[in-house]
């Protein structure tokens, strides 16, 4: 049986730094998952990825990632995506250090 549809965000890595980025409602990229555009239906998700993919010149490997919406904010569904919002666990490097 197919899993129930989960909301999605479009995500990629920044071309220059490789940092994790998310596509926003304004058609730009953000470093913060909380600011990402969330697609609530399969059709909206497809549309989101199509828009994001138009900006291939600035990003690498755009794809859709599952999220859950909690208090109106997207949070990662899978642990891999959770790590992508933070950075490695052995050092305080990557996003977690930049946000702090």
């Amino acid at each position: 049986m197919a899993r129930a549809f989960l909301p999605k965000v479009a995500t990629a890595n920044d071309l220059f730094e490789g940092d994790v980025i998310y596509f926003t409602d304004e058609g730009t990229w953000t470093r913060q998952l909380a600011a990402a555009a969330v697609a609530m239906t399969p059709e909206a998700a497809e549309d989101l990825l199509a828009q994001a993919a138009k900006l291939q010149g600035e990003v690498v490997g755009a794809y859709l990632a599952d999220v859950r919406v909690e208090d109106g904010v997207p949070v990662p569904d899978h642990f891999r995506e959770a790590f992508r919002t933070r950075g490695p666990s052995n050092y305080f490097h990557g996003k977690q250090a930049e946000v702090a």
Binding site: E17, G18, D19, Q56, P88, S89
Partner: protein, 553 residues
């Protein structure tokens, strides 16, 4: 030490210039990512989870002080002040920015280094015994062979698009420290009845999703026939290796599906043709390469005879120093596995200390081991106390070589985009759980190896205790294998049963080790020997409990 010819130097510079242009064209939009990706991979540049990663080749694991210092400079200037030494004797930088990579490659070229053929379906960086040129048990230094293969395989047009990546390892000693049986081709130096040195040729080893121990395809290959024979293997593989499925494309699958005898016959046929065509390896080239590996002028002072009084130094010597072919020397292994640290990570400051020590005390030589440690291959025994003192100040004197905290771990999901689970924190926690070095010495030789996915970059299949991190329904889960062995008695470990959750895996390893301590016949019986004597059952009982298994049966 071997230094590259002008031809090599020009070749590397031209590649950097070419790549600089490619990066510029990617940035200005004239290259798409699909076009750029194979080009960056050819220059060792990967994209991982949080950033790019640059993989730099350390051919046959040999470096000099100047090169190590340059790696320190690169880490500090363009990365976050550290580098990661890997099981393939490479170093990886985890945070380079795309626009800086051409400058990094130029800085590498300044010291005769590069990132070519560290990725892609070509012949990769040739690895060798990390004690090469120093080991007391060595028949011959394997590095001239590795260098000959490097020259032959670099940019070899026929072998640039193989069905899959191709890895060669060489050892010059009967004790195999280079895991040659887990490589596409493993070469082991042997002597024939007439006493002439040659190679035992092993093919079809490999780890990854279908682990296999290599098989001997030739008992004795005269040295002069090496390139003709390698060409024969590669030609047969290039023509017959599968290209329809990348999981079945390694030569191990060809060996498995075709059968060793049939494949040997085909290789021998091509070999006799290649032998006529290529002839023997040009003695001039051999002589030039050999000259680059002439042993240093040994310091003939006798080794000190006074007993070592300092307890810390004594354990360091017992654990981290092994016999050198010159009795007055020792081979010093510097552990890059401090208790609780990330296996294989060295800071720029530590790299500089290692460079200094190499220059002052090791005839300007360093080696990277596939076990993610750094070797000072030629230290006079009289200098070991001074070396130890400096290592201690730099946090590099952990006396745990070959012990439970000398763990191999791949980058796993903390860095790697292919990972299914983390591996580094598991290594850190195991190391902390056995922090006491005296207790570690009591446990004795034990190799724990951890991979964060089925690709097995952390060699888990050949760990005495292997740990494989998987994603089970969206949760990290760790499978244990026991009894693996990466030496001349190579064996693939056996799975114990169901995996363990992230917070259960370290206690599970603790139970295994407690069980071993109960079961062993005495301190001389190492973990692997006890396992071989008793098999999986008592360890399974320790892992899963007796009742539970009775229920499951």
């Amino acid at each position: 030490m071997y230094s590259y010819s002008n031809f090599d130097a020009d070749f590397v510079r031209n590649r950097v210039a070419e790549f600089r242009g490619q990066v510029e064209r990617r940035i200005d939009g004239s290259l798409t990512e699909d076009e750029f990706k194979p080009l960056r991979l050819m220059n060792g540049l990967y994209l991982q989870l949080h950033a790019y990663m640059l993989r730099v080749a350390v051919p046959y694991g040999t470096l000099n002080g100047r090169q190590m210092r340059q790696l320190a400079y690169i880490a500090e200037t363009w990365d976050k002040g550290y580098g990661h030494f890997t099981t393939r004797q490479n170093i990886q930088f985890n945070w380079p920015k795309l626009q800086d990579v051409p400058d990094i490659l130029d800085a590498l070229a300044d010291v005769g280094m590069h990132a070519i053929q560290t990725s892609g379906n070509c012949i990769r960086n040739v690895t060798a015994d990390h004690f090469a040129g120093a080991a007391a048990d060595e028949i011959e230094d394997p590095r001239p062979t590795a260098e000959l293969i490097r020259q032959w395989s670099t940019d070899h047009p026929e072998f640039a698009y193989l069905p899959r990546k191709f890895k060669v390892a060489v050892t010059g000693s009967p004790n195999d420290r280079a895991v040659t049986k887990a490589h596409d081709i493993g070469l082991r130096m042997v002597r024939n009845d007439a006493g002439e040195p040659g190679y035992e040729v092993v093919i079809g080893g490999g780890l990854g999703r279908t682990p296999m121990i290599g098989k001997v395809v030739r008992d004795f290959l005269p040295k002069a026939d090496l390139l003709a024979y390698l060409e024969a293997i590669l030609q047969v593989y290039n023509l017959s290796g599968r290209r329809d499925n990348k999981y079945k494309a390694r030569i191990k699958i060809l060996v498995h599906e075709t059968g060793l005898d049939e494949l040997r016959a085909r290789i021998e046929e091509v070999f006799s043709r290649q032998q006529r065509l290529l002839g023997e390896v040009d003695p001039g080239i051999v002589a030039r390469i050999d000259a680059g590996f002439t042993p240093p002028v040994w310091d003939t002072r006798p080794a000190p005879e006074a007993p070592v009084l300092d307890a810390g130094l004594r354990s360091f010597i017992d654990t981290n120093v092994v016999a050198h072919k010159q009795p007055q020397y020792g081979i010093v292994s510097v552990s890059i596995k401090p208790i609780g640290g990330t296996p294989g990570d060295a800071t720029s400051a530590q790299m500089r200390v290692l460079a200094d020590l190499a220059e002052r005390y090791s005839h300007d030589e360093l080696r990277i081991s596939h076990e993610q440690n750094v070797i000072l291959p030629h230290v006079h025994r009289a200098d070991i106390p001074a070396v130890y003192a400096e290592l201690r100040m730099a946090g590099l004197a952990t006396a745990n070589i070959g012990l439970v905290s000398d763990i191999i771990a791949c980058p796993g999901m903390d860095y790697c985009a292919l990972a299914t689970a983390r591996s580094i924190p598991i290594a850190q926690q195991i190391s902390e759980s056995f922090a006491d070095l005296d207790a570690q010495r009591d446990i004795g030789p034990l190799k724990i190896k951890i991979s964060g996915c089925i690709n097995a970059c952390g060699h888990h299949h050949v760990g005495h205790i292997g740990i494989l991190g998987l994603d089970r329904a969206g949760v990290e889960n760790y499978q244990i294998t026991l009894g693996g062995d990466g030496t001349e008695t190579a064996t693939i470990g056996s799975r114990t049963g169901p995996g363990f959750a992230y917070d259960e895996i370290v206690p599970a390893v603790e139970r295994l080790i407690e069980a071993y301590l109960d079961l062993r016949e005495g301190p001389e019986e190492a973990f692997l020997a006890t396992y071989r004597r008793l098999g999986l059952e008592p360890f399974k009982a320790a892992l899963y409990g007796v009742e539970e298994r009775a229920d499951a049966a």
